[in-house]
């Protein structure tokens, strides 16, 4: 289990030997911008690709200013073609580049799905380890932004089900900065799902090397609130919701532990196991439909690992088995604080 405890749900504070913190308050979006800029500066092989990421700075302005700083050759306004973006990124990676591709919205990744699943994910195994394709794919995901169809989905399970990929998602600005950098530096293909409704969530970000040293692996979960009665596992946009639920539960005299999963593939089962064996109860919350979702896989694995420690079945809170609904009714679709607390209550009825 990770030892990086984050009592306030904020960032991992570095306590290394008299570090020189370089801390400022940034939104998640700007923390990612900073991470991209720092990787572009650190490695000339890094380049950004995507629709409208250059002059416009991306539809969420995550790449704002980067074209002006690094040039149109390294911050590339690509044609409107997701398969082309991913497919040429694979070719560039074969040549020794480290492309960072932006998919404009979650629901637009599917034209590139073939390249991601049949090519990117399999290339290393196909070539007996001789061809590495360190492509990073950034995908803003999730609902709650009042948008139109295809702009609010959470397709992470489709990618976690694909061997060869790594899938991570930050929930706060400090993690967004470091996990983006770690993803780009990783030799495996990494999909970074960015919680778009939290893009404007502010947090302290320490960009100092000491903070980088203290930063846990992006493939580890982090306990963002300690508790003893039940564990709530969440990721990306639902981490703040889970923390709010834990706060509310405390007022009812119930102590919830909240784990920010961070890495969706691989999953840090050791951290989850340690927690659920202490609390005996677990709720997993995600925006994606629960059927066939990642929560089901986590519940099944933990039942195998920790069956005799469980006081109740592991419960899931998630989306319904519906196409993402029109945004006027999304509040009834998305898991919220009350649905998490309801699941917690049910944990105690067994």
């Amino acid at each position: 289990m990770s030892t990086s405890q984050i009592p306030d749900g904020g960032h991992v504070a570095s306590s290394a030997q008299q570090p020189v913190p370089q801390t400022e308050t940034l939104t998640i979006a700007k923390a990612i911008t900073r991470a991209l800029a720092d990787e572009l500066a650190a490695d000339e092989k890094v380049l950004l690709m995507g629709e409208d990421i250059g002059s416009l700075g991306g539809v969420y302005r995550v790449t704002e200013g980067l074209k002006a700083t690094f040039g149109a050759d390294r911050v590339v306004d690509s044609p409107l073609a997701e398969s082309g973006i991913i497919g040429t990124s694979i070719g560039l990676a074969m040549r020794g580049y480290r492309p960072v591709a932006e998919i404009q919205f979650d629901g637009f990744v599917f034209p590139g799905f073939n390249q991601i699943t049949t090519q990117l994910a399999k290339m290393r195994a196909r070539t007996q380890g001789t061809r590495e394709v360190p492509v990073t794919i950034r995908i803003p995901y999730g609902g709650g932004i009042g948008s139109i169809e295809h702009h609010s989905e959470s397709p992470e399970a489709l990618f976690t089900h694909t061997p060869g990929l790594r899938v991570i998602t930050p929930s706060n600005a400090h993690d967004a900065y470091w996990m983006t950098r770690q993803a780009i530096q990783c030799q495996d293909p990494v999909i970074v799902f960015e919680p778009k409704r939290r893009y404007w969530l502010r947090g302290e970000v320490d960009t100092s090397p000491a903070a980088g040293d203290a930063q846990p692996s992006p493939f580890r979960a982090v306990t963002v609130r300690q508790g003893s009665d039940a564990t709530v596992v969440a990721w990306g946009p639902l981490v703040p919701v889970a923390l709010a639920a834990a706060q509310a539960a405390e007022e009812d005299g119930r102590s919830l532990e909240v784990i920010d999963l961070r890495s969706l593939s691989p999953v840090d089962f050791d951290a989850l196991q340690a927690s659920v064996e202490r609390t005996g109860r677990m709720v997993i919350a995600h925006e994606a439909p629960t059927f066939g979702g990642l929560g089901g896989e986590i519940a099944a694995r933990l039942m195998e690992r920790s069956f005799l420690h469980l006081e109740a079945p592991i419960l899931r809170v998630g989306g319904f088995h519906l196409p993402y609904p029109p945004s006027r009714v999304e509040e009834h679709y998305l898991p919220d604080l009350d649905r998490i607390l309801d699941a917690v209550d049910r944990l105690f009825t067994y």
Binding site: R95, Q119, A125, T130, F269
Partner: protein
């Protein structure tokens, strides 16, 4: 006489297609094709003999592989017979360090680049997904989800363009690299071919799109993929497309050499459509009699690239009986060695599941480690059984459950 089906291909080239060897193998320096003719003069006799050797070798290995598949020694084979002229012409036109992004039918190109028959057949034996070192041969692994490779070729060419930024024309012409994006008439309908041409055109990338139009996408004729010669599509992207007689190795050579020089010197992509014919089945799992006529096959057989090329080489004194006999003997020997190599692909000489566990991720991965450890335990459970005396009555001694303590 069986009637050709509607849309069936005819054994005649589209109007304006570049063809230099006539059907009798005689070279016609047609002035309509003047811009390609100078490239013929760069084709020295040794190189022509080499092309002939490649073609004979591929055809012989192709037949051996088909036999091996029929005998149950290969999972599948993808015949390339009939397309040797297109592949030999294109390959001979490339520089040694140009990159080939193949489909799964560019056997001649792979073999000519030094991939051994054993390495080639590992894939078709089911022993590996890619049997050769791409960097060594400058031949990427075969791609089975067709058209995906055209985007990889385009992306790779993008990388080349970046690496060669600032080079002058002389240096580009001398040392510049290009990629050859191979695909066929079937895959021409895939969106990835379209997207790769958009990207290649938008960024002036050094890629030659090499379409072998063999007229059949398994059972569907090329007329279902396109109304016009596929080379004409290039105009829609803003670059040049040329249809060439794909059964004429010299024409394919000259056109591809021209196209490669365009791409190499910064003029951007070019599309070369080699109009050829898939003489054999799509794969050994296919039955062409269900969708095409014997008359059609005979009409195309008359265009055979190897016969035509050999006739030309003999008529011009480039090839004699002694050389032809030598090449055929070598091909026979190689076929025998290939058979031996395939039969030698025993579990001991090919990879294990551990290789796949080892190669899926570059960096440590806890789930992979956990599952591999479980698999080792599972296998270790059988080691005891192998040394134990056989149970009377033939009852299975395989445990129903995994080793104790193993995760399911």
């Amino acid at each position: 006489m069986e009637q050709p089906r509607p849309g069936a291909p005819a054994a005649q080239l589209p109007e304006g297609a570049v063809s230099l060897l006539d059907r009798e193998g005689s070279l016609q320096r047609d002035e309509r094709f003047a811009r390609y003719l100078p490239y013929l003069d760069t084709l020295i006799e040794d190189r022509m003999r080499q092309m002939y050797r490649w073609m004979v070798t591929e055809r012989r290995l192709d037949r051996e592989a088909t036999s091996l598949q029929r005998q149950g020694q290969l999972a599948l084979w993808v015949p390339a017979i009939g397309q040797e002229g297109a592949q030999a012409g294109a390959l001979a036109a490339l520089h040694q360090d140009d990159w080939i992004f193949p489909t799964y039918r560019e056997h001649l190109m792979a073999l000519a680049r030094g991939v051994t028959p054993r390495q080639l057949l590992l894939l078709f034996r089911g022993a590996a997904h890619a049997g050769w070192d791409a960097e060594q041969h400058r031949v990427q692994p075969y791609t089975l989800v067709l058209a995906a490779q055209t985007l990889h070729a385009t992306g790779y060419a993008w990388g080349i363009a970046r690496d060669q930024a600032g080079w002058d024309q002389d240096r580009r012409a001398q040392d510049g690299q290009i990629t050859l994006a191979c695909y066929g008439d079937g895959a021409s309908s895939e969106g990835d071919v379209h997207e790769s041409m958009v990207f290649a055109a938008s960024y002036d990338l050094p890629v030659v799109f090499f379409c072998q139009n063999n007229h059949w996408a398994i059972s569907v004729p090329s007329s279902t993929q396109t109304r016009v010669p596929l080379a004409r599509r290039a105009a829609g992207y803003g670059f040049e497309g040329v249809t060439v007689d794909g059964n004429d190795p010299l024409a394919v050579y000259a056109v591809t050499a021209w196209a490669a020089e365009q791409a190499r010197t910064g003029a951007g992509p070019v599309l070369v459509e080699a109009d050829t014919y898939r003489v054999g089945a799509h794969t050994t799992a296919d039955d062409p009699t269900k969708y095409r006529t014997a008359e059609e096959e005979q009409a195309f057989a008359a265009l055979d690239p190897l016969t035509r090329f050999e006739t030309h080489l003999r008529a011009t004194g480039v090839l004699d009986d002694a050389f032809a006999a030598e090449v055929h003997d070598e091909a026979e020997q190689l076929a025998a060695q290939t058979r031996e190599a395939v039969l030698g692909m025993t579990p001991e000489t090919i990879g294990t599941l551990d290789d796949v566990f080892a190669h899926t991720y570059a960096e440590p991965h806890p789930l992979i480690e956990e599952e591999q450890a479980w698999h080792h335990q599972w296998q270790a459970g059988f080691a005891d059984l192998e040394s134990a005396p056989e149970v009377a009555g033939g009852e299975s001694t395989v445990p129903v459950d995994g080793p104790e303590g193993a995760p399911a």
